[in-house]
């Protein structure tokens, strides 16, 4: 049994099913995982922020969207990422650590009917870069792992016509493969920050 994260405290903020899968995976690797800031005992080693608002994962043409839906699909989840990063900083700034955002690849490559969600994804990536620049001196790294719609929302993945090219490798499973990669970033030397790694098995290679 691989318990490489034994002794590590992890906080997985939100993300519903995706967050739950990451939490299960990190727990299986030995980490002590909580899902809410209030449940932490103080400092943690790792914070995972899934940028996977369930509302944003379904298609919605921009021209047909009313303002309330725009706010629900774009402004609210991007604001939640800002708050989550601030919460992450609050629990990491005592001893440093790792922040990882799970972002959608469709935000980087563009996808029809996902404009609001794409704005959230790219906004989150830029916010992560700003955080990486600001918090590096405190020993905090901030990186993004980009996942496909097939990984994040298999039910509607077929609606994303821009992802027809098959991945070169198998599509990473969130609970096992993504969690293991998060462990690698957590345990490795703190020399990578502000970057985005495509964790899609070699699907998109243009970024």
């Amino acid at each position: 049994m691989d318990t490489q994260l034994a002794g590590k405290d992890a906080l997985v903020l939100g993300g519903d099913e995706v967050g739950a899968a990451v939490a299960r995976g990190l727990t299986a690797l030995g980490a002590s995982v909580t899902r809410h800031v209030a449940e932490t005992s103080g400092a943690v080693d790792l914070v995972v922020i899934p940028v996977t608002d369930p509302g944003g994962l379904t298609p919605a043409p921009l021209a047909e969207m009313d303002e309330a839906e725009w706010i629900r699909r774009c402004e609210a989840p991007l604001g939640a990422v800002r708050v989550a990063l601030q919460e992450a900083h609050a629990v990491l700034n005592q001893r440093g650590g790792t922040i990882i955002l799970l972002v959608p690849t469709i935000a980087m490559i563009g996808a029809a009917d996902f404009a609001a969600y794409s704005a959230v994804g790219e906004g989150a990536r830029s916010l992560a870069k700003a955080a990486a620049r600001g918090w590096g001196a405190q020993g905090i790294t901030v990186n993004c792992l980009a996942l496909t719609q097939e990984q994040l929302a298999p039910d509607v993945a077929g609606r994303v016509t821009e992802t027809r090219v098959p991945p070169a490798l198998k599509t990473p499973d969130i609970e096992h493969d993504v969690a293991a990669f998060i462990a690698t970033l957590t345990l490795g030397p703190p020399v990578v920050t502000g970057t985005t790694i495509m964790l899609d098995g070699g699907n998109h290679m243009s970024v």
Partner: protein
């Protein structure tokens, strides 16, 4: 190059917006200057009319959907068509520095309103008119949205989000013939001038970071790129961010 076309620019009463409006007019476009400061907008429109081009100024708070819709309606009534809407307006808080952990709701909300909700208003209001002429929707973004900015995390987030919007909207509206692109300039504006006055050493710092060793001029350096993106020579370009920064960032 743009003769017969009508271009609306938001936040066009000064700075980059003013430069873009002057450049489009110089290329033959009729230009609609929108801004919250109608007096300043009228001044830019008068400058353009003095050049012999057509221009009108409209007071428009882009955070208000009704005002954006009204501006598009007046444009269509006056000029008969809208070929390009350029969303350039930025929040008055966009230059307010704060590390991310100290960002307040006030910092965040106004920039979201002007940068994102207004982009949504502009896109929706312009969509019917742009689809009739296979027009262009263009958003002014920033290197901060590509590289991330330590002192300006909110601005980074908004500009990055706008780039995501551009890419997906380009795919969504491509079948309707509408092209959607972004321009990321580094150009001299009144705000940048004040910044340099307060911190003179930053002028040389920013210049030295650019391969071409200077800060761009809105009309002379950024304007031609806008005209290219609106004009016929870019008919096969959509979903892109064009960096107009003298080689400060190379992607």
């Amino acid at each position: 190059m743009l003769s017969g076309k009508t271009v609306m620019v938001t936040g066009a009463s000064q700075g980059v917006g003013r430069g873009l409006a002057l450049a489009a007019a110089s290329a033959g476009a009729s230009v609609v200057i929108t801004a919250r400061n109608i007096d300043a907008a009228e001044g830019v429109a008068a400058e353009i009319r003095a050049l012999g081009a057509h221009a009108i100024a409209l007071r428009c708070d882009v955070t208000e959907r009704a005002e954006v819709e009204a501006a598009v309606a007046v444009t269509l009534d006056r000029f008969g068509q809208l070929d390009a809407l350029v969303h350039n307006a930025t929040s008055r808080f966009s230059g307010r520095g704060a590390q991310l952990q100290n960002v307040t709701d006030e910092d965040w909300n106004d920039q979201v309103a002007v940068g994102l909700r207004a982009a949504f208003h502009c896109a929706q209001a312009a969509f019917p008119a742009l689809s009739r002429v296979a027009g262009s929707f263009i958003i002014l973004v920033s290197n901060a949205g590509i590289e991330g900015s330590l002192p300006l995390p909110v601005y980074s987030a908004i500009k990055g989000a706008q780039r995501g919007l551009v890419k997906s909207l380009a795919r969504e509206w491509g079948p309707a013939g509408i092209r959607v692109n972004a321009i990321a300039p580094v150009a001299m504006t009144p705000a940048m001038g004040k910044f340099f006055d307060a911190q003179p050493e930053m002028r040389d710092y920013i210049k030295s970071g650019a391969a071409l060793r200077r800060v761009g001029e809105p009309q002379a350096d950024v304007g031609p790129v806008l005209n290219f993106l609106i004009g016929p020579n870019s008919a096969f370009i959509t979903g892109q961010t064009i960096l107009v920064n003298g080689g400060a960032t190379m992607v």
